[in-house]
Amino acid sequence: MTLLSTKSSIDAIRSAQRKGGHLLYVVPAVFLLTLLSAFPLFQLARMSFSDVGIKNITGVWTNVGFANFKAIASDPDFKQILINTLVFVGIVTFLGLILGFVAATAFNDAKKSSDFLLAFMVFIWALPPIVNGSVWKFLLGGDGLINVLLQKVSLISEPIPFLYDPKMALYSVAMVNCWAVIPFNALILKAAFKSVSKDVLEASEIDGVTPLQQIRYVYFPSSRPTLLVLAILTLVYGFRSFDFIYVMTYGGPGLATNTLPFLGYIKAFVLFDFSKGAAIALLSAIFTSGLALLYSRSVRKEEQND
């Protein structure tokens, strides 16, 4: 085979693939998701433009246009809840990613203790939020272990109001959520690090490279695509997660830890205003889909340079 024909056949393969030579591979996924995910999504969207309560959830839905969205936006508490949400999502995404990365690099030393510790963390991650949330509620409580320990060593005299101080409560809940995503991020990142050539890694360990340099020149570039996906997944998680808040503070004190996903849950399943719940979910979905577009564009751009 001549060089020229090799090149042209590669081009042929590539263009065939770009034209969708792999379309068959996505058929099962499209089938499953169309059957079981697209319908609920469609219902959710339809619900957010209708007036659906417990009376007609299985009956006729009348279109009300943007009324639900307007009602949500004009709620006097909406601004505070929106700010809470952004702070919450920001902390969970940013710290969850950074600390997950730190954990993955710290554990990437082929030692048994690292494997064990990471496995242990994922093991805890796997426990349902009702368990993890409750445990942290106990630990952070006024009579909880953390406060008692701090008081025993005389670092503080009064218990720290982690979950019931109007300002601190939001940070505490966000930190616990962060705690809950770190094992997942660390595990995925560690798997991604395995694609780093061993020689490069060993060379960087032996050579006098500072830890920061190692992160910057070895770990970071090798896990960039994974980091991007994790950033999106963590962000989506933050925008969807209400269970820790539900267990730990129920949005209180007052509205101090009330976020959009929590409000959406309350509207739909406590107040049975399904439309408003759906509208809030859709609003968050639209926001994240904007980020999703940015993500897919950056992925495409990056990969074109491959």
Partner: protein
């Protein structure tokens, strides 16, 4: 390998396990878990019914509390559901709206003992009887008798006396009171006796009165009688905190009687000292027949021989609940029960219909949430009593339309 697994999965998908529901069997959905005395009521009722109706069986289905309504709605959307539902009595009209409950009119009207039931425990919607309560639950003032003796204080009969006792307790190194400050229905339920003691109620949306009422909680927090942590407590946690033994009072329900029995100190219950204006909701679970029950007659006979019968109602006494029938409430096991006595006195003096009739039936949950948020924000310090009162009243007015 992959194809074998796929075939196995496909095979599994085809074998749908049939649901067994014999003709002479009824399912009862309830949300009692974690409280052995309450769980026992369900198994006792099953035994009573199966003994009275040889051949018939009862399947008690425990549904996690948070999932009860969504499970009922989902089931109703496919025209299925339980034969009997045991649920929060305040939610009758909600469940009627959801098409989940069947009207009980025909059974109820023919019920020989219907006169034994006070109107407040019969829940109607659209003029029809849909559910009735076998017992009533309400809040009282639990006290630690050991601490009370140590600080040499009498049982309080006014809020001022209550505060005096709490001040003395605090001085002696104890905590004042535990209660629920969650920003939702449970918080509103616990707030109501105090915020109504100053004259506020859903029929009298007086902002000044409400500000004063909410101010009680603020005062307790400021003086250190009540922890701000109450904003994270549901109704169960504060009672478990009270049982630790270092708190003078607990505002909590009669259903804690079973849990209280394990206390390592002397305790008792007094009526909440909320004067003549104060209102205490009369809550408790209600029972109804499911709209899609295939055996409504059997479901009715289950209710008739358990929740609605004189002897059946006495089964709930160990839980601490007060039987709803006039004749069972007069039974010795009730009148001779020292713990139940103050509750019975409260029903007569401060008892108020739950859900409040001044709020449209479909907006009850919204009103509860608004009340809970106001209560929680005052305890947690995110709002002053005046601001919280203003917002709460505005929300109620909007709901009343």
């Amino acid at each position: 390998m992959a194809s074998i697994v796929a075939a196995g999965v496909a095979g599994l998908l085809l074998t749908t396990m049939p649901a067994v529901h014999a003709a002479e069997s009824i399912t009862v959905w309830h949300y009692f878990s974690g409280n052995p005395t309450q769980e026992k009521v369900m198994t006792d009722y099953k035994a009573i019914f199966e003994k009275e109706n040889p051949g018939a069986t009862v399947e008690n289905v425990y549904v996690p509390y948070d999932q009860m309504n969504s499970k009922l709605i989902a089931a109703a959307s496919t025209k299925t559901g339980p034969d009997v539902v045991v649920f929060n009595g305040a939610e009758t009209s909600l469940l009627v709206d959801g098409g989940i409950l069947a009207p009980m009119d025909s059974y109820w009207n023919a019920f020989a003992d219907k006169a034994q039931f006070p109107a407040s425990v019969i829940h109607k919607a659209n003029g029809k009887v849909y559910s009735a309560q076998g017992y009533v639950n309400l809040l009282g003032l639990w006290y630690n008798a050991d601490i009370l003796a140590k600080i040499k204080m009498p049982l309080p009969t006014t809020i001022a006396e209550m505060e005096k006792a709490m001040a003395a307790a605090k001085k002696a190194g104890y905590k004042g009171i535990t209660l629920c400050g969650l920003p939702q229905g449970q918080g509103e339920w616990q707030a109501m006796p105090f915020i109504s003691s100053t004259g506020f109620n859903y029929g009298n949306l007086n902002e000044k009165a409400l500000t004063d009422g909410l101010g009680i909680a603020k005062r307790w927090v400021d003086k250190g009688y009540l922890s701000k942590e109450a904003t994270t407590w549901d109704q169960t946690v504060p009672f478990q905190k009270f049982l630790v033994g270092d708190t003078l009072f607990a505002e909590n329900g009669n259903w804690q009687a079973g849990a209280a029995a394990g206390a390592k100190f002397k305790y008792g219950v007094a009526a909440l000292p909320i004067g003549s204006k104060g209102k205490i909701y009369l809550g408790g679970e209600s029972t109804a027949i499911g709209a899609f029950s295939k055996n409504k007659d059997l479901a009715w006979s289950y209710l008739k021989s358990t929740y609605f019968s004189k002897s059946g109602q006495l089964v709930v006494v160990p839980v601490g609940s007060i039987p709803s029938r006039l004749d069972s409430a007069k039974d010795k096991s009730v009148t001779g029960n020292k713990l139940l006595k103050p509750f019975a006195a409260e029903i007569a003096k401060n008892g108020a219909n739950y859900p409040p009739t001044e709020i449209p039936a479909t907006k009850i949950a919204d009103a509860q949430t608004a009340g809970g948020v106001a209560w929680s924000s005052v305890i947690g310090g995110t709002a002053t009593p005046a601001n919280a009162a203003k917002k709460y009243i505005a929300a109620i007015k909007a709901l009343q339309g």
